[in-house]
Symmetry: C2
Subunit: 244 residues, 2 copies
Amino acid sequence: MLVKSKVKYIQTLGQKKFRQEEGVFIAEGPKLVLELVSTVAGNIVEIFALKEWIDANKIQLKAVNCVEVSATELEKISQLSTPNQALAVVKNLDSPVPVAKKGEIILALDGIRDPGNMGTIIRISDWFGINQVVCTADSAEVYNPKVVQATMGSIARVRITYLNLHQWLMEQNGISIYATVLEGRDISTVKKVKEGILLIGNESAGISHGILSLADERITIPRRGGAESLNAAVATGIVLSHLI
Amino acid sequence: MLVKSKVKYIQTLGQKKFRQEEGVFIAEGPKLVLELVSTVAGNIVEIFALKEWIDANKIQLKAVNCVEVSATELEKISQLSTPNQALAVVKNLDSPVPVAKKGEIILALDGIRDPGNMGTIIRISDWFGINQVVCTADSAEVYNPKVVQATMGSIARVRITYLNLHQWLMEQNGISIYATVLEGRDISTVKKVKEGILLIGNESAGISHGILSLADERITIPRRGGAESLNAAVATGIVLSHLI
Protein backbone atom coordinates (compact mmCIF):
# COMPACT_ATOMS: atom_id res chain seq x y z
CA MET A 1 0.00 0.00 0.00
CA LEU A 2 1.19 3.45 -0.88
CA VAL A 3 0.34 6.39 1.33
CA LYS A 4 -0.95 9.47 -0.42
CA SER A 5 2.12 11.54 0.42
CA LYS A 6 4.37 8.97 -1.26
CA VAL A 7 2.23 8.94 -4.41
CA LYS A 8 2.41 12.72 -4.46
CA TYR A 9 6.21 12.66 -3.92
CA ILE A 10 6.83 10.28 -6.84
CA GLN A 11 4.50 12.27 -9.09
CA THR A 12 6.47 15.46 -8.42
CA LEU A 13 9.64 13.69 -9.65
CA GLY A 14 8.17 14.03 -13.13
CA GLN A 15 9.32 17.66 -12.89
CA LYS A 16 12.94 18.66 -13.34
CA LYS A 17 12.86 21.14 -10.45
CA PHE A 18 11.87 18.47 -7.92
CA ARG A 19 14.25 15.89 -9.36
CA GLN A 20 17.12 18.33 -8.94
CA GLU A 21 16.12 19.22 -5.39
CA GLU A 22 15.91 15.56 -4.43
CA GLY A 23 18.87 14.33 -6.49
CA VAL A 24 16.89 11.33 -7.73
CA PHE A 25 15.21 10.18 -10.93
CA ILE A 26 12.62 7.66 -12.04
CA ALA A 27 13.18 4.58 -14.18
CA GLU A 28 10.33 2.37 -15.35
CA GLY A 29 9.64 -1.00 -16.88
CA PRO A 30 10.89 -4.47 -15.90
CA LYS A 31 13.94 -4.53 -18.18
CA LEU A 32 15.23 -1.11 -17.28
CA VAL A 33 14.66 -1.57 -13.55
CA LEU A 34 16.45 -4.96 -13.49
CA GLU A 35 19.30 -3.48 -15.54
CA LEU A 36 19.74 -0.78 -12.90
CA VAL A 37 19.54 -3.34 -10.09
CA SER A 38 22.35 -5.32 -11.68
CA THR A 39 24.58 -2.33 -12.43
CA VAL A 40 23.92 0.39 -9.85
CA ALA A 41 22.04 -1.34 -7.01
CA GLY A 42 23.59 1.04 -4.48
CA ASN A 43 21.83 3.97 -6.12
CA ILE A 44 18.35 2.49 -5.94
CA VAL A 45 16.30 4.18 -3.25
CA GLU A 46 13.12 2.19 -3.67
CA ILE A 47 11.35 0.01 -6.22
CA PHE A 48 7.56 -0.02 -6.55
CA ALA A 49 6.29 -3.07 -8.38
CA LEU A 50 3.47 -5.55 -8.87
CA LYS A 51 3.47 -8.69 -6.71
CA GLU A 52 3.96 -11.09 -9.65
CA TRP A 53 7.03 -9.20 -10.82
CA ILE A 54 8.59 -9.09 -7.35
CA ASP A 55 7.95 -12.82 -6.92
CA ALA A 56 9.45 -13.61 -10.32
CA ASN A 57 12.63 -11.64 -9.58
CA LYS A 58 13.14 -12.39 -5.87
CA ILE A 59 16.82 -13.31 -6.16
CA GLN A 60 17.90 -10.21 -8.08
CA LEU A 61 15.84 -7.96 -5.81
CA LYS A 62 17.23 -9.38 -2.56
CA ALA A 63 19.44 -6.43 -1.70
CA VAL A 64 17.11 -3.60 -2.72
CA ASN A 65 14.20 -1.90 -1.05
CA CYS A 66 11.08 -3.18 -2.80
CA VAL A 67 7.48 -2.07 -2.18
CA GLU A 68 4.55 -4.06 -3.52
CA VAL A 69 1.90 -1.93 -5.22
CA SER A 70 -1.38 -2.60 -7.01
CA ALA A 71 -1.85 -1.93 -10.73
CA THR A 72 -3.97 1.10 -9.80
CA GLU A 73 -1.24 2.49 -7.57
CA LEU A 74 1.41 1.91 -10.23
CA GLU A 75 -0.74 3.82 -12.70
CA LYS A 76 -0.87 6.76 -10.30
CA ILE A 77 2.90 7.04 -9.92
CA SER A 78 3.89 6.14 -13.49
CA GLN A 79 5.05 8.63 -16.12
CA LEU A 80 4.26 6.16 -18.91
CA SER A 81 1.01 6.01 -20.84
CA THR A 82 1.08 2.24 -20.26
CA PRO A 83 2.63 1.54 -16.82
CA ASN A 84 4.76 -1.58 -16.93
CA GLN A 85 5.15 -3.68 -13.76
CA ALA A 86 7.93 -1.80 -11.97
CA LEU A 87 9.13 1.72 -11.19
CA ALA A 88 12.38 2.61 -9.44
CA VAL A 89 13.38 5.80 -7.69
CA VAL A 90 17.12 6.05 -8.23
CA LYS A 91 19.79 8.37 -6.80
CA ASN A 92 21.53 10.42 -9.49
CA LEU A 93 24.51 8.57 -10.92
CA ASP A 94 28.03 9.88 -10.36
CA SER A 95 29.35 11.97 -13.20
CA PRO A 96 32.67 13.61 -12.33
CA VAL A 97 34.23 15.88 -14.95
CA PRO A 98 36.31 13.53 -17.12
CA VAL A 99 39.77 14.03 -18.59
CA ALA A 100 40.17 12.73 -22.15
CA LYS A 101 42.78 9.99 -22.15
CA LYS A 102 44.73 8.03 -24.72
CA GLY A 103 42.84 4.98 -25.88
CA GLU A 104 39.42 6.43 -25.06
CA ILE A 105 36.71 8.05 -27.14
CA ILE A 106 34.45 10.65 -25.56
CA LEU A 107 31.25 11.93 -27.15
CA ALA A 108 30.61 15.67 -26.75
CA LEU A 109 27.10 17.03 -27.35
CA ASP A 110 26.54 20.69 -28.13
CA GLY A 111 22.89 21.42 -27.38
CA ILE A 112 21.02 18.20 -28.17
CA ARG A 113 17.52 19.27 -27.13
CA ASP A 114 15.20 16.42 -28.00
CA PRO A 115 14.89 13.91 -25.12
CA GLY A 116 14.39 11.02 -27.58
CA ASN A 117 17.59 11.95 -29.42
CA MET A 118 19.51 12.31 -26.16
CA GLY A 119 18.41 8.89 -24.92
CA THR A 120 19.08 7.25 -28.27
CA ILE A 121 22.57 8.81 -28.42
CA ILE A 122 23.37 7.37 -24.97
CA ARG A 123 22.18 3.94 -26.17
CA ILE A 124 24.34 4.25 -29.31
CA SER A 125 27.39 5.25 -27.22
CA ASP A 126 26.89 2.17 -25.08
CA TRP A 127 26.59 -0.06 -28.17
CA PHE A 128 29.94 1.21 -29.43
CA GLY A 129 31.59 0.86 -26.02
CA ILE A 130 31.83 4.56 -25.27
CA ASN A 131 31.17 5.15 -21.60
CA GLN A 132 31.60 8.89 -21.30
CA VAL A 133 29.39 11.60 -22.79
CA VAL A 134 29.87 15.30 -22.03
CA CYS A 135 27.16 17.88 -22.82
CA THR A 136 26.59 21.60 -22.78
CA ALA A 137 24.25 22.80 -20.04
CA ASP A 138 21.49 23.50 -22.58
CA SER A 139 21.32 19.86 -23.67
CA ALA A 140 18.31 17.73 -22.70
CA GLU A 141 18.42 16.64 -19.05
CA VAL A 142 19.49 13.01 -18.80
CA TYR A 143 17.04 12.34 -15.94
CA ASN A 144 14.02 13.46 -17.95
CA PRO A 145 11.82 10.30 -17.95
CA LYS A 146 11.76 10.32 -21.78
CA VAL A 147 15.56 10.30 -21.91
CA VAL A 148 15.80 7.57 -19.29
CA GLN A 149 13.35 5.36 -21.23
CA ALA A 150 15.05 5.98 -24.58
CA THR A 151 18.43 4.87 -23.20
CA MET A 152 16.94 1.36 -22.76
CA GLY A 153 19.19 0.75 -19.74
CA SER A 154 22.35 2.27 -21.18
CA ILE A 155 22.02 5.14 -18.69
CA ALA A 156 23.54 2.78 -16.12
CA ARG A 157 26.67 2.16 -18.19
CA VAL A 158 27.40 5.56 -19.70
CA ARG A 159 28.46 8.55 -17.58
CA ILE A 160 26.89 11.82 -18.68
CA THR A 161 28.51 15.04 -17.49
CA TYR A 162 27.13 18.55 -18.04
CA LEU A 163 29.84 21.19 -18.28
CA ASN A 164 31.10 24.27 -20.04
CA LEU A 165 32.02 22.45 -23.24
CA HIS A 166 34.17 25.19 -24.76
CA GLN A 167 36.29 25.52 -21.64
CA TRP A 168 36.54 21.75 -21.13
CA LEU A 169 37.68 21.21 -24.74
CA MET A 170 40.39 23.85 -24.25
CA GLU A 171 41.71 21.87 -21.29
CA GLN A 172 42.02 18.52 -23.10
CA ASN A 173 45.58 18.39 -24.39
CA GLY A 174 46.96 16.13 -27.07
CA ILE A 175 43.58 14.59 -27.92
CA SER A 176 42.08 15.10 -31.38
CA ILE A 177 38.66 16.70 -31.67
CA TYR A 178 36.42 15.55 -34.54
CA ALA A 179 33.40 17.65 -35.46
CA THR A 180 30.43 16.27 -37.39
CA VAL A 181 29.34 18.95 -39.85
CA LEU A 182 27.44 19.22 -43.15
CA GLU A 183 30.53 20.18 -45.14
CA GLY A 184 33.75 18.46 -44.23
CA ARG A 185 35.84 15.44 -45.05
CA ASP A 186 33.96 12.35 -46.27
CA ILE A 187 33.63 10.09 -43.22
CA SER A 188 34.50 7.01 -45.29
CA THR A 189 37.97 8.45 -45.95
CA VAL A 190 38.73 9.12 -42.27
CA LYS A 191 40.92 6.50 -40.59
CA LYS A 192 39.65 4.53 -37.62
CA VAL A 193 40.58 6.17 -34.33
CA LYS A 194 41.53 4.76 -30.93
CA GLU A 195 41.05 7.99 -29.04
CA GLY A 196 39.49 11.37 -29.50
CA ILE A 197 36.54 13.59 -28.77
CA LEU A 198 33.62 13.42 -31.18
CA LEU A 199 31.47 16.56 -31.37
CA ILE A 200 27.78 16.39 -32.31
CA GLY A 201 25.77 19.57 -32.68
CA ASN A 202 22.24 20.78 -32.06
CA GLU A 203 19.41 19.34 -34.18
CA SER A 204 18.90 22.50 -36.21
CA ALA A 205 21.79 24.89 -35.48
CA GLY A 206 24.61 22.33 -35.52
CA ILE A 207 27.80 22.93 -33.54
CA SER A 208 28.19 26.47 -32.24
CA HIS A 209 30.89 28.59 -33.82
CA GLY A 210 33.23 28.89 -30.83
CA ILE A 211 33.23 25.17 -30.14
CA LEU A 212 33.62 24.26 -33.81
CA SER A 213 36.73 26.43 -34.01
CA LEU A 214 38.45 24.03 -31.57
CA ALA A 215 37.99 21.00 -33.86
CA ASP A 216 41.05 19.38 -35.43
CA GLU A 217 39.03 17.67 -38.15
CA ARG A 218 35.61 18.35 -39.69
CA ILE A 219 33.87 15.24 -40.95
CA THR A 220 30.75 14.72 -43.01
CA ILE A 221 28.34 11.98 -43.97
CA PRO A 222 28.06 12.50 -47.74
CA ARG A 223 24.57 13.31 -48.95
CA ARG A 224 23.31 11.62 -52.11
CA GLY A 225 19.66 12.60 -52.20
CA GLY A 226 17.22 15.37 -51.36
CA ALA A 227 16.98 15.37 -47.56
CA GLU A 228 18.45 18.50 -45.99
CA SER A 229 19.83 16.82 -42.91
CA LEU A 230 20.03 13.64 -40.90
CA ASN A 231 18.59 13.11 -37.43
CA ALA A 232 21.30 13.86 -34.80
CA ALA A 233 21.16 10.38 -33.27
CA VAL A 234 21.37 8.72 -36.68
CA ALA A 235 24.37 10.91 -37.58
CA THR A 236 26.05 9.95 -34.29
CA GLY A 237 25.56 6.25 -35.03
CA ILE A 238 26.93 6.57 -38.56
CA VAL A 239 30.03 8.54 -37.52
CA LEU A 240 30.82 6.18 -34.64
CA SER A 241 30.44 3.12 -36.86
CA HIS A 242 33.05 4.55 -39.23
CA LEU A 243 35.46 5.93 -36.64
CA ILE A 244 35.62 2.96 -34.28
CA MET B 1 -13.11 31.63 -42.59
CA LEU B 2 -13.59 27.92 -42.10
CA VAL B 3 -17.07 26.47 -41.86
CA LYS B 4 -17.68 24.02 -39.05
CA SER B 5 -18.09 21.07 -41.36
CA LYS B 6 -14.67 21.70 -42.90
CA VAL B 7 -13.03 21.90 -39.47
CA LYS B 8 -14.68 18.63 -38.56
CA TYR B 9 -13.60 17.02 -41.84
CA ILE B 10 -9.93 17.93 -41.36
CA GLN B 11 -10.03 16.79 -37.74
CA THR B 12 -11.28 13.35 -38.79
CA LEU B 13 -8.25 12.98 -41.07
CA GLY B 14 -6.23 12.46 -37.87
CA GLN B 15 -7.71 8.96 -37.93
CA LYS B 16 -6.40 6.25 -40.25
CA LYS B 17 -9.88 4.99 -41.12
CA PHE B 18 -10.98 8.37 -42.50
CA ARG B 19 -7.67 9.00 -44.27
CA GLN B 20 -8.04 5.71 -46.08
CA GLU B 21 -11.64 6.38 -47.04
CA GLU B 22 -10.73 9.80 -48.41
CA GLY B 23 -7.37 8.86 -49.90
CA VAL B 24 -5.74 12.00 -48.48
CA PHE B 25 -3.35 12.90 -45.68
CA ILE B 26 -2.31 15.97 -43.71
CA ALA B 27 1.06 17.69 -43.78
CA GLU B 28 1.91 20.60 -41.49
CA GLY B 29 4.44 23.34 -41.01
CA PRO B 30 5.84 25.90 -43.47
CA LYS B 31 8.86 23.89 -44.60
CA LEU B 32 7.02 20.63 -45.18
CA VAL B 33 4.09 22.29 -46.96
CA LEU B 34 6.37 24.27 -49.30
CA GLU B 35 8.41 21.13 -49.98
CA LEU B 36 5.21 19.38 -51.08
CA VAL B 37 4.16 22.36 -53.20
CA SER B 38 7.46 22.26 -55.04
CA THR B 39 7.51 18.48 -55.57
CA VAL B 40 3.91 17.20 -55.76
CA ALA B 41 1.77 20.31 -56.34
CA GLY B 42 -0.74 18.26 -58.32
CA ASN B 43 -1.54 16.21 -55.23
CA ILE B 44 -2.35 19.16 -53.02
CA VAL B 45 -6.09 19.45 -52.44
CA GLU B 46 -6.07 22.52 -50.25
CA ILE B 47 -3.73 24.52 -48.03
CA PHE B 48 -4.95 26.27 -44.88
CA ALA B 49 -2.57 28.95 -43.69
CA LEU B 50 -2.11 32.23 -41.88
CA LYS B 51 -2.30 35.43 -43.93
CA GLU B 52 1.35 36.40 -43.32
CA TRP B 53 2.56 33.07 -44.58
CA ILE B 54 0.42 33.14 -47.69
CA ASP B 55 1.59 36.68 -48.45
CA ALA B 56 5.24 35.73 -47.94
CA ASN B 57 4.97 32.75 -50.32
CA LYS B 58 2.65 34.12 -52.99
CA ILE B 59 4.74 33.04 -55.96
CA GLN B 60 5.20 29.43 -54.89
CA LEU B 61 1.53 29.13 -53.95
CA LYS B 62 0.19 30.52 -57.25
CA ALA B 63 -0.99 27.22 -58.64
CA VAL B 64 -2.47 25.72 -55.48
CA ASN B 65 -5.74 26.13 -53.67
CA CYS B 66 -5.00 28.25 -50.59
CA VAL B 67 -7.42 29.19 -47.82
CA GLU B 68 -6.59 31.90 -45.32
CA VAL B 69 -7.32 30.92 -41.70
CA SER B 70 -6.90 32.60 -38.33
CA ALA B 71 -4.48 31.26 -35.70
CA THR B 72 -7.49 30.01 -33.73
CA GLU B 73 -8.83 28.12 -36.75
CA LEU B 74 -5.41 26.62 -37.48
CA GLU B 75 -5.23 25.41 -33.91
CA LYS B 76 -8.57 23.63 -34.33
CA ILE B 77 -7.52 21.69 -37.44
CA SER B 78 -3.89 21.04 -36.47
CA GLN B 79 -2.56 17.70 -35.24
CA LEU B 80 0.50 19.39 -33.73
CA SER B 81 0.80 20.54 -30.14
CA THR B 82 2.16 23.82 -31.54
CA PRO B 83 0.41 24.60 -34.86
CA ASN B 84 2.82 26.16 -37.31
CA GLN B 85 1.50 28.58 -39.97
CA ALA B 86 0.30 26.15 -42.64
CA LEU B 87 -1.52 22.83 -43.06
CA ALA B 88 -2.04 20.99 -46.33
CA VAL B 89 -4.54 18.32 -47.25
CA VAL B 90 -2.76 16.15 -49.80
CA LYS B 91 -3.92 13.33 -52.07
CA ASN B 92 -2.08 10.06 -51.40
CA LEU B 93 1.09 9.79 -53.43
CA ASP B 94 1.43 7.17 -56.14
CA SER B 95 3.20 4.02 -55.04
CA PRO B 96 3.04 1.29 -57.68
CA VAL B 97 4.65 -2.05 -56.82
CA PRO B 98 8.30 -1.65 -57.86
CA VAL B 99 10.59 -4.12 -59.59
CA ALA B 100 14.15 -4.18 -58.26
CA LYS B 101 16.50 -3.12 -61.04
CA LYS B 102 20.23 -3.11 -61.65
CA GLY B 103 21.84 0.06 -60.33
CA GLU B 104 19.15 0.69 -57.73
CA ILE B 105 18.93 0.08 -54.01
CA ILE B 106 15.55 -0.60 -52.42
CA LEU B 107 14.92 -0.56 -48.68
CA ALA B 108 12.56 -3.28 -47.42
CA LEU B 109 10.99 -2.91 -43.96
CA ASP B 110 9.62 -5.91 -42.09
CA GLY B 111 7.24 -4.59 -39.46
CA ILE B 112 8.66 -1.20 -38.42
CA ARG B 113 5.92 -0.16 -35.98
CA ASP B 114 7.04 3.10 -34.45
CA PRO B 115 5.88 6.14 -36.49
CA GLY B 116 8.97 8.12 -35.49
CA ASN B 117 11.26 5.32 -36.70
CA MET B 118 9.29 4.98 -39.94
CA GLY B 119 9.50 8.69 -40.70
CA THR B 120 13.19 8.86 -39.79
CA ILE B 121 13.95 5.86 -42.02
CA ILE B 122 12.25 7.59 -44.97
CA ARG B 123 14.34 10.71 -44.27
CA ILE B 124 17.53 8.58 -44.13
CA SER B 125 16.63 6.85 -47.42
CA ASP B 126 16.21 10.23 -49.05
CA TRP B 127 19.58 11.43 -47.67
CA PHE B 128 21.30 8.42 -49.26
CA GLY B 129 19.47 8.83 -52.55
CA ILE B 130 17.19 5.82 -52.17
CA ASN B 131 13.76 6.63 -53.56
CA GLN B 132 11.91 3.37 -53.05
CA VAL B 133 10.91 1.76 -49.77
CA VAL B 134 8.74 -1.36 -49.57
CA CYS B 135 7.06 -2.44 -46.32
CA THR B 136 5.02 -5.27 -44.89
CA ALA B 137 1.37 -4.43 -44.29
CA ASP B 138 1.92 -4.38 -40.50
CA SER B 139 4.45 -1.53 -40.74
CA ALA B 140 3.49 1.95 -39.50
CA GLU B 141 1.20 3.80 -41.91
CA VAL B 142 3.16 6.38 -43.86
CA TYR B 143 0.27 8.89 -43.73
CA ASN B 144 0.12 8.85 -39.94
CA PRO B 145 0.76 12.53 -39.06
CA LYS B 146 3.72 11.52 -36.86
CA VAL B 147 5.34 9.70 -39.77
CA VAL B 148 4.68 12.57 -42.17
CA GLN B 149 6.29 15.06 -39.75
CA ALA B 150 9.29 12.83 -39.03
CA THR B 151 10.09 12.52 -42.76
CA MET B 152 10.82 16.29 -42.79
CA GLY B 153 9.64 16.53 -46.40
CA SER B 154 11.30 13.36 -47.67
CA ILE B 155 7.85 11.78 -48.02
CA ALA B 156 7.57 13.72 -51.29
CA ARG B 157 10.73 12.18 -52.75
CA VAL B 158 10.57 8.58 -51.56
CA ARG B 159 7.90 6.15 -52.79
CA ILE B 160 6.58 3.85 -50.06
CA THR B 161 4.74 0.72 -51.13
CA TYR B 162 2.97 -1.72 -48.81
CA LEU B 163 2.97 -5.28 -50.08
CA ASN B 164 3.39 -8.95 -49.25
CA LEU B 165 7.13 -8.71 -48.67
CA HIS B 166 7.87 -12.43 -48.76
CA GLN B 167 6.13 -12.90 -52.08
CA TRP B 168 7.62 -9.72 -53.56
CA LEU B 169 11.17 -10.75 -52.59
CA MET B 170 10.62 -14.15 -54.26
CA GLU B 171 9.75 -12.32 -57.49
CA GLN B 172 12.89 -10.16 -57.62
CA ASN B 173 15.38 -12.09 -59.71
CA GLY B 174 19.11 -11.56 -59.90
CA ILE B 175 19.16 -8.89 -57.19
CA SER B 176 21.03 -9.52 -53.94
CA ILE B 177 19.13 -9.30 -50.66
CA TYR B 178 21.04 -8.03 -47.61
CA ALA B 179 19.54 -8.59 -44.16
CA THR B 180 20.55 -6.53 -41.12
CA VAL B 181 20.76 -8.92 -38.18
CA LEU B 182 22.44 -9.12 -34.76
CA GLU B 183 24.78 -11.93 -35.80
CA GLY B 184 26.16 -11.77 -39.30
CA ARG B 185 29.09 -10.48 -41.28
CA ASP B 186 30.77 -7.32 -39.96
CA ILE B 187 29.35 -4.46 -42.01
CA SER B 188 32.77 -2.84 -42.36
CA THR B 189 33.98 -5.89 -44.33
CA VAL B 190 31.07 -5.81 -46.80
CA LYS B 191 31.91 -4.22 -50.15
CA LYS B 192 30.00 -1.17 -51.38
CA VAL B 193 27.00 -2.11 -53.50
CA LYS B 194 25.39 -0.49 -56.53
CA GLU B 195 22.17 -2.45 -56.36
CA GLY B 196 20.29 -4.66 -53.97
CA ILE B 197 17.50 -4.92 -51.47
CA LEU B 198 18.31 -4.03 -47.87
CA LEU B 199 16.11 -5.67 -45.23
CA ILE B 200 15.45 -4.01 -41.87
CA GLY B 201 13.42 -5.82 -39.23
CA ASN B 202 10.95 -4.99 -36.50
CA GLU B 203 12.17 -2.99 -33.47
CA SER B 204 12.06 -5.93 -31.09
CA ALA B 205 11.48 -9.11 -33.10
CA GLY B 206 13.88 -8.34 -35.98
CA ILE B 207 13.30 -9.84 -39.44
CA SER B 208 10.74 -12.64 -39.53
CA HIS B 209 12.06 -16.13 -40.19
CA GLY B 210 10.50 -16.71 -43.62
CA ILE B 211 11.73 -13.40 -44.99
CA LEU B 212 15.19 -13.80 -43.48
CA SER B 213 15.56 -17.16 -45.24
CA LEU B 214 15.47 -15.31 -48.59
CA ALA B 215 18.52 -13.17 -47.75
CA ASP B 216 21.74 -13.68 -49.70
CA GLU B 217 23.89 -12.02 -47.05
CA ARG B 218 23.40 -11.37 -43.33
CA ILE B 219 25.18 -8.28 -42.10
CA THR B 220 25.81 -6.91 -38.63
CA ILE B 221 26.92 -3.71 -36.96
CA PRO B 222 29.50 -5.02 -34.47
CA ARG B 223 28.66 -4.35 -30.86
CA ARG B 224 31.44 -3.21 -28.55
CA GLY B 225 29.58 -2.28 -25.38
CA GLY B 226 26.65 -3.22 -23.20
CA ALA B 227 23.56 -2.10 -25.13
CA GLU B 228 21.43 -5.00 -26.34
CA SER B 229 20.37 -3.43 -29.59
CA LEU B 230 20.39 -0.31 -31.73
CA ASN B 231 17.35 1.75 -32.70
CA ALA B 232 16.01 0.53 -36.08
CA ALA B 233 16.44 3.91 -37.76
CA VAL B 234 19.99 4.29 -36.46
CA ALA B 235 20.84 0.80 -37.72
CA THR B 236 19.39 1.67 -41.14
CA GLY B 237 21.54 4.79 -41.33
CA ILE B 238 24.70 2.94 -40.35
CA VAL B 239 24.17 0.10 -42.81
CA LEU B 240 23.36 2.45 -45.70
CA SER B 241 26.40 4.60 -44.97
CA HIS B 242 28.62 1.54 -45.30
CA LEU B 243 26.90 -0.10 -48.27
CA ILE B 244 26.52 2.95 -50.51
